[in-house]
Amino acid sequence: MTGLLRTSIEEQFSDIYLEGELSNLRAPGSGHVYCILKDKTSQIRAVLFRSSAVRLRFSLQEGMHVIVRGRLTVYETRGEYQIVLDTVEPKGIGALQLAFEQLKERLSAEGLFDQDRKKPIPAFPRTVGVVTSLTGAAIRDILVVLRRRWPTLHIVIAPVHVQGESAGRQIAEALNALNELSFVDVIIVGRGGGSLEDLWSFNEEIVVRAIAASHAPVVSAVGHEIDVTLADFAADLRAPTPSAAAEAVVPVLDEIVERLRELTIRTGQVMFRHCAFERQRLDAAIRGVTDVRFRLQDAAQRTDDMVDRVRALLQRLLTSGRDGVHKAQRDLSGLNPILTIKQGLATVPQFSKRLEGQMGVILTQHRYRIHATLAQLNTLSPLAILERGYSILQTIPAGQILHRAGDVEVGQELEAQLASGRLSCKVTHVFDDSSV
């Protein structure tokens, strides 16, 4: 009877659609999935055999609202009828979308998408790996942009199918293979635009895990700006398109060369300015020293003049003034400004604000002492003596100052210098004391 029923049922209900909620979900090791599909008023046993179960992209969950397609059959052992499911679709949301959400949640919980896992993209990669199809627009765009920006770049392409059954595995293997090449600095993985189905490989767990495990930083570029895949979440950087990914991984060589040139020039300019500045300071210091030297020389000359004049005066001093004159000479030589100046010059330090100050003091002191000496000398000056009624006799024309009467003979013409004015005289008698 059961056999008859079964034949009858299977013939009549060979392709049916049902809608309901999943309950009593069981998935034993066999890989088959058993459950009860129910709505508010009724329920039916359902089985999803392994061959169909593996094609499901999302996982079935208790209470999930689904639309199923299948055929009715009778499980003779128990005498129950049930539906053998062919496809299961989540109600209200696409199967792929659901699968996406589920996997995203699971991998996210594992931390695969965490921000702190993200590796920085190297600023100047020498070698860029590319995982994509050799026939698509993506590789063309990537190569064009990479070679335009950095013409000498080393590029290693790991070709893969980017859609279809084996695509996910190929992409994962390519990522691993590029990682084995230690010289690959960064990897671009992606493809051009397509339907959600076309892009599906980039949502596969194996791809997401390979990206997360990559030692080299990975830039994802799947489809267009609006397409977001799990590969994008796992990648260290998500580029909206393959061209954008290429732009993100390499700078423009010309700009870098220009930057390097600019930095080098600036280094030189700054250094040149610094040297020029130091040179100027040195020049100023030398000028300062030279200034002081000129001033010292000038002062030395002026004191020389004074000393000469003082000497001339001394020579013309009368005998009675001799002691005072000797004293004055001693004083003068003791204060010889030339000697002091020479000593001063010998100790002129190289950079000389200090020196200038010191020399200024020394010069002032000298000037003061020279003035004092001159004042002192002035009291000894013959002119001062003459004021007291003495006169100086000089021979004419020799101009020799007379000290002894015996130095002249009768008839010698003499000039007598008085305090005011001079007299011209003639010797009429000579009274030489020594002859007395």
């Binding site: 790996g129 392409i157 790991a158 280094t267």
Partner: protein, 82 residues
């Protein structure tokens, strides 16, 4: 890795220029880092010039052995076997 070396060298060079432009170093210090800067600049240029300039394709044969060959336009017509 040369890429990292280059990045570091550029960063150091930037720092040196900044340091020099602050203009608060004594002349001999300035000279020292100036010389370092010029050395870095030369190295950077050398690294840029050493770049390899090639496009290659990494393929895996049926035994799983990997090899690399130069990329040519013909590659675009071959799909990888899977």
């Amino acid at each position: 890795m040369a890429a990292v070396k280059f990045e570091q060298a550029m960063a150091r060079l930037e720092a040196i220029v900044g340091e020099l432009e602050k203009n608060d170093l004594p002349l001999d210090e300035s000279l020292k880092i100036f010389e370092e800067g010029i050395r870095l600049s030369k190295n950077c240029l050398k690294i840029l010039e050493e770049a390899e300039h090639k496009v290659e394709v990494l393929v895996q044969d049926k035994n799983g052995k990997k090899r690399i060959h130069a990329y040519s336009q013909d590659d675009a017509t071959d799909e990888p076997s899977s």
